[in-house]
């Protein structure tokens, strides 16, 4: 979705804001989709257009390693147009699209379809993840080289496990041949079985079927050993346990090329959220204990966990309107991810810099990309007012999925402006936005 135009677009200056990373006042000037200049207050070159962003912070646009756009195939849950607009509303400018679509993104044709739709309907950059096994069945290798050629930035198996260790080993070896990054959500299916909640106090009390931590850690151990042997670049998606963070530290010490992410909701909520059988909090991996939450936060603070993802999973209302076990897992989070992070900053559990690193540079580096504000970088920017609050509701959210974690609560952090390649992807006050 990189648009090159022959005639030059008027230059744009964002005036009166502060750089989120340093807190310094700065005027950011954008020309032809790229950052032209970052200057101190009053010293910027004249631009053809200016926007006053007083009181706001300017960050690089957020990068999401795990987002479900539901297109092709699941139109009742969302589509590329609705979910990319939601992403822009949440300050995201780059989305990795999960291969778990229908049909599965296991061929160049599906990748092309996604990119074609994105080119016309998405105002943010969409980077498809290719299915590493055909149909995500975990049995046969997909055409990985072809998928990469069509534009997939990494290979993964969506939220489904590759049950067979021999297949997993060959997936890694084949991906390594082409220098591809593999992304897996670690879950040992035999140990997870029919579970849908953390195997802990709440599950014991409510009689919920539990998924023990060892379902995740046993899968991570297997993946780390195979990654070490094959030399593939491994990314572990959506960690949920304290022990997983320890294993990650140890693996890095051994020199294994491994990165990891955690979903934002894992940093805020615990299995306690299920204590009223609230099906919104049916997520996978499940929300775990307070000590797991603390360890995951420490992992983000220390940079052991590279990225925070939205793990955005829009659903139609019927998917959540059933007894807990019969509902589909997933929260609609991409529009509240920044606000959730700012709540953690308010509580002193993360610094603003740690939060933004995990939403920008961290995930970008997993993909071998960058997300920084510097001259000549793509003008992918998120301008947000950390002091303003908003209340997520069916009328304020753009996503087709309205099962977000915070009904009737106001949240800090309003995204005022999202620019992708210098173009407006989201503006909270459209009259002040630059013309596209």
């Amino acid at each position: 979705m990189i648009v090159t135009t022959e005639q030059s677009v008027p230059s744009l200056a964002l005036v009166g804001g502060r750089l989120a990373t340093t807190g310094e006042k700065a005027t950011v000037t954008i020309q032809d989709g790229r950052i032209a200049e970052i200057a101190g207050p009053g010293s910027a070159q004249a631009a053809e257009q200016t926007i006053d962003i007083k009181g706001c912070l300017i960050s690089a646009g957020f990068v999401d390693l795990c987002c479900n756009l539901r297109e092709p195939g699941n139109g009742q849950k969302g589509n590329i147009a609705s979910e990319s607009r939601a992403a822009a509303h949440g300050g995201f400018t780059t989305l990795c699209a999960s291969p778990d679509t229908s049909p599965v993104n296991d061929s160049g044709a599906v990748t092309n379809l996604i990119l074609d739709v994105a080119a016309t309907r998405s105002s943010v950059r969409i980077l498809p993840i290719g299915a590493i096994t055909r149909g995500l069945e975990g049995e046969l290798l997909s055409d990985m080289a072809g998928l990469a050629g069509a534009g997939c930035v990494a290979m993964g198996n969506g939220s489904r496990p590759v049950r067979n260790a021999r297949v997993l080993r060959r997936c890694m070896a084949y991906a390594q041949t082409f220098g591809l990054t593999v992304m897996f959500s670690p879950e040992n299916q035999a140990l997870a079985a029919d579970g849908y909640a953390h195997d802990g106090l709440v599950a014991s009390r409510l009689g919920l079927l539990g998924i023990p931590e060892v379902a995740e850690t046993a899968a991570i151990m297997e993946m780390l050993l195979l990654a070490e042997e094959t030399g593939v670049r491994l990314h572990l998606s959506q960690l949920s346990c304290a022990r997983s963070v320890e294993m990650l530290v140890e693996a890095r010490r051994r020199g294994i090329s491994v990165t990891a992410d955690v979903a934002m909701h894992q940093l805020l909520f615990t299995d306690d959220a299920l204590s009223g059988f609230d099906s919104r909090f049916h997520v996978r991996p499940p929300l775990r204990s307070e000590s797991d939450r603390k360890a995951l936060l420490a992992g983000v603070r220390e940079g052991v966990i590279d990225a925070i993802t939205s793990q955005h999973q829009p659903h139609d209302s019927a998917a959540k309107q059933a007894p807990l076990a019969a509902t589909e897992p997933g929260l609609s989070t991409i529009e509240t991810t920044l606000s959730m992070g700012l709540l953690l900053v308010e509580r002193g559990e993360l610094s603003l810099q740690q939060l933004l690193r995990a939403l920008t540079e961290g995930p970008a580096s997993v993909l071998g990309r960058r997300a920084v504000i510097e001259p000549d970088a793509a003008a992918d920017l998120c301008v947000f007012d950390p002091a303003r609050t908003w209340a997520p509701s069916a009328s304020t959210l753009c996503s087709a999925g309205i099962h977000h974690p915070f009904p009737s609560r106001s949240l800090p952090g309003v995204v005022q402006l999202t620019l992708c390649n210098g173009e407006t992807a989201w503006a909270s006050e459209p009259e002040r936005s630059p013309i596209r």
Binding site: S204, L208, A273, S275, Q321, A326, L343
Partner: protein, 353 residues
């Protein structure tokens, strides 16, 4: 207090915590603390549990009359919604509703709506539209009655007749009534629950009730594969060795063992289970001589319990069945009372507006 208010309160009490889930106590109680649904024993205090037992006591006498009816639910429609088959529980609920003079509709959902692809919500909304006043719900999934009471038909009184592994509150209360009849108290009692606690909604509700009513000790006796994780957090101690666990017991409650447990690699065989955890005369002799023997039924003779014990002098298993009707009459009439109070208040609020 509405759900919203208590959410607000819990936020103010502990600013460090985010709203997590929805509060459960307010779901089944009216603003005045009356029962309006009966979903779980969690959040119900000793006074209310005692109230249920006392009300049930008053209904036992009704069962002894020649005309076994009181007009408390006359003109009300009770729908027995059994998404999982059951003979005993359904018949006692049906009898209880009829003795309260309600109109009763029995629906075996396994063979009707859901097999045509209709969703649970749609089935219930249709039944509500037929002006039902109470749903008695049994469902294979934990939390199904909560879901119905909270999101589908909050204006219909929901009685949980057993949901997944979560709760079977009327069963636990009829057990409490039986214990009170035989022991006259809960203080100081030592009670053991033996067998498949992991899959048992009955055990979870019993542990909760015994703790709230003041039993001295609740032990669970089972191999580790049949216990939920951190089971002690429910309010019980764990004993793997049944001979040790039987010491000084006043009440022993045996749980039913499903045959499927062998297939799930939870147990090697019925024979080994019976040898280690089945209740026979020798093991019972280790308990207090006055120890009563209970079982929620249906009994697997020779798997959990020896016939001589099940039919023996210490067994109160059939008393449990009799008490089941009285407890269900108590809970149904109390929940209907709370539901009516709620409806009246709402209609008065509408008038004043």
């Amino acid at each position: 207090m509405t759900a919203q208010d208590s959410l607000q309160d819990s936020l103010q009490d502990s600013p460090q915590n985010f709203p997590q889930g929805s509060p459960r106590t307010s779901l089944q109680l009216t603003g005045e603390g009356q029962l309006r649904h009966f979903l779980t024993l969690d959040g119900l205090d000793r006074a209310l549990l005692t109230d249920i037992l006392d009300t049930a006591d008053s209904f036992i006498e009704v069962g002894e009359r020649s005309i076994k009816k009181v007009p408390l639910l006359r003109g009300r429609t009770v729908v027995n919604l059994f998404f999982e088959s059951s003979t005993r529980t359904r018949s006692t609920f049906e009898l209880a509703a009829k003795r309260l003079s309600a109109d009763v509709l029995n629906l075996d959902i396994n063979t009707s709506a859901t097999s045509k692809g209709e969703s649970l919500s749609d089935t219930l909304l249709n039944l509500e539209a037929m002006a039902s006043d109470m749903f008695v719900v049994r469902h294979a999934q934990s939390g199904a009655p909560h879901f119905i009471a909270e999101s589908v038909t909050p204006g219909v009184a929901i009685i949980n007749a057993g949901d997944g592994r979560h709760a079977h509150p009327t069963q636990a209360m009829l057990d409490m009534l039986t214990i009170r009849q035989h022991k006259g108290r809960f203080d100081g009692l030592k009670v053991a629950i033996v067998g498949d606690v992991l899959h048992s909604r009955v055990a979870r509700s019993q542990i909760r009730a015994l703790n709230e009513l003041g039993a001295a000790e609740v032990r669970v006796i089972a191999p580790a594969t049949l216990l939920p994780r951190d089971v002690e957090s429910l309010g019980c101690s764990v004993e793997y060795d049944m001979a040790k666990g039987m010491k000084e017991l006043d009440v022993v409650i045996m749980l039913r063992l499903q045959k499927e447990r062998m297939e799930g690699a939870l147990l090697p065989s019925e024979r080994e289970f019976y040898r280690l955890y089945g209740l026979n005369r020798e093991k019972l002799a280790l308990a207090h001589p006055e120890c009563i023997v209970m079982h929620p039924g249906p009994i697997n003779r020779g798997v959990e319990i020896e016939s001589a014990v099940a039919d023996g002098p210490q067994s109160v298993i059939l008393d449990q069945v009799t008490n089941g009707i009285a407890i269900r009459m108590a809970v149904m009439s109390m929940a209907m009372g709370g539901q009516m109070a709620d409806r009246n208040r709402q209609s008065e609020e509408r008038k004043t507006l």
